[in-house]
């Protein structure tokens, strides 16, 4: 693959006290692809996602967008650069209505002096647009003015996904967007991801659901103990390969050949992590 990655990271590190959440992680996302990121609980997937979306500032490492080095100081920087994220805990304000949540942090003001001088919000336009976004994604709610806390878990997740899909212009990142969804809703989200790909928008999908991953992904990034340990193809590799890689039972050599690990450390995550994190 000689193409330039849309989003690329090298050697990312993030420590929380003694815990190393990201331990020299690399990352590549190519134009128009759906990249699945898989890994055990606590492998550091969400931390990696947060580093890529400006929600955390890594201690070390580089990120580049379209080949240009970027340094996000906050989520707003990444958003402005066109990276839109569905966080694992959704990042919605429960007391506010759906329309307000879709535009949270990027409210539109009225045109003319009222917007410029009085800073009046263009509530009407935001509501109309919010309704359109939900309609496009086939998301049904009682009203766009319902507070988010009155929605079901699945509906909330749909709102968070809709927000990212509506505003993402370069990359859409989704951290377990189907975790709380039923079969039908999950299918909708997968269809939406496929539609984003058709639009040419690359998508990063963090998921524990292997059938989903194998259904939608073009490539699979396997994350383990804070770093990328392999990138595999859902066409050339099996689910067993992926599960073996993410638990550490299998290993991918530099030549891309997957081999068994003799003395695999499948438990004792903490012990392993400590030795890996030491300088």
């Amino acid at each position: 693959m000689s193409q330039q990655p849309v989003l690329r990271a090298r050697g990312l590190v993030k420590r929380y006290g003694r815990v190393t959440a990201i331990d020299g992680a690399d990352f590549d996302l190519f134009p128009g692809e759906v990249l699945a990121v898989v890994g055990d609980n606590g492998a550091g997937k969400s931390s990696l996602i947060k580093a890529l979306s400006g929600a955390l500032v890594p201690d070390a490492g580089e990120i580049s967008l379209d080949g240009v080095a970027v340094r996000f100081r906050g989520p707003l920087d990444a958003r402005r650069a066109g990276i839109e994220t569905v966080y694992q805990d959704l990042a919605l304000a429960p007391a506010q209505d759906i329309a307000s949540n879709l535009f949270l942090g990027r409210e539109r003001r009225l045109p003319g002096w009222r917007g410029a001088v009085l800073r009046t919000l263009d509530v009407g336009t935001m509501r109309t647009r919010a309704q359109q976004v939900l309609d496009e994604l086939d998301i049904t709610v009682k009203s766009i003015l319902q507070p988010v806390e009155t929605l079901s878990g699945g509906q909330r997740q749909a709102v968070a996904v809709a927000r990212a899909a509506a505003f993402g212009s370069k990359v859409v990142v989704m951290d377990e967007p189907t975790a709380a969804l039923g079969v039908a809703e999950s299918a909708k989200v997968l269809a939406l991801i496929a539609r984003l790909r058709e639009r040419g928008l690359p998508v990063v999908l963090v998921s524990h659901n292997m059938p989903h991953v194998f259904e939608i992904a073009d490539r699979i990034h396997v994350h383990r103990l804070g770093r990328r340990v392999a990138v595999v193809s859902p066409h050339a590799n099996s689910m067993n390969d992926v599960v073996g890689l993410l638990t550490g039972a299998l290993r991918m050599g530099d030549d891309g050949v997957i081999e068994e690990v003799r003395h695999a450390v499948t438990t004792g995550l903490g012990a392993h992590r400590k030795s890996a994190g030491a300088p």
Binding site: A55, A91, P94
Partner: protein, 334 residues
Amino acid sequence: MGAAKLLGDVMYANRTRADLGEFVLRTPAVGPAIALAVAVVVFALTTNTFLELDNLSLVVEQSLVVGTLALGQTLIILTAGIDLANAANMVLATLLMAKLVVGGTPGWLALLAGLAVTTAVGAITGGLVTRIKLPPFIVTLGLLTILAAASRIYTGQSVAVSDPLLSWLGTRRYLFGGIEVTNGMTVAVVMYLVLWYALSRTGWGRHVYAVGNEPEAARLSGIKVRRTVLSVYLIAGLVYGIAAWQALGRVPNADPNAYQTGNLDSITAVVLGGTSLFGGRGSVLGTLVGALIVSVLRSGLTQAGIDDLYQNVATGVLVIAAVALDRLSRGRQA
């Protein structure tokens, strides 16, 4: 049109009768407004004097200082904070303004100095809360002690004010021949309207609610959480400065021992107005109603011949009921 639009904002399509209770719970000022109306009707029926225009004016006038303190308090509580030092901050400003004028400073300069001091205290509070991440309760508890002591160190006894500007808010006018209105009332109404507008119709307002409701979600949505919270403490500080001006309008005498329960009274008004102490829910209009409820209750019970102490009991019961209602309405959604 405005009222219809307001209603439209809070009503969903296909509202059924079961949703009516939800409407009351979800619209912060509706419950308190009903309570206020009930109180007014009860006192109008049970006493002869309550509904007299002079008495009604007095009721409003008596709620001005606490009502203004409560306005600033509302902003802070919306961010899930609390301000125990607001009345102490205000009292210090009244003393400063009074002493400056007595010492020959022009009234307008003394007023500006007072506003500057309360705003500076707001900046200090906001700085400690946002930079060092201290809980607002602790910060303002400390400031309460410091400011109250500072006031007494500054002047041992009360200072009389005789400056037209400093007592201007107490100036009365008569509308339609009989309705007594002070400048302080006008100023309070304007302040409430401005902040109502800012909170409900600007991006800043939405950020204030989001920060109080779910700070991490606000941060991830790109809201500058610290800057928003700091702005709230600054604006509240300025509002307390106006409260100091209101206080001198009511009684042209600055007293270091005045308004010792002003902080708690302002919290009472906020809570009665339906704003949640957990942050992120409520409105300044509710607070306005809350401040009026306290004042109406005091006046009505006095005229019904009920002792001060029982009035306190009644207010306390109302506060607990209001918080319980808030808790219950939230509990159903969790």
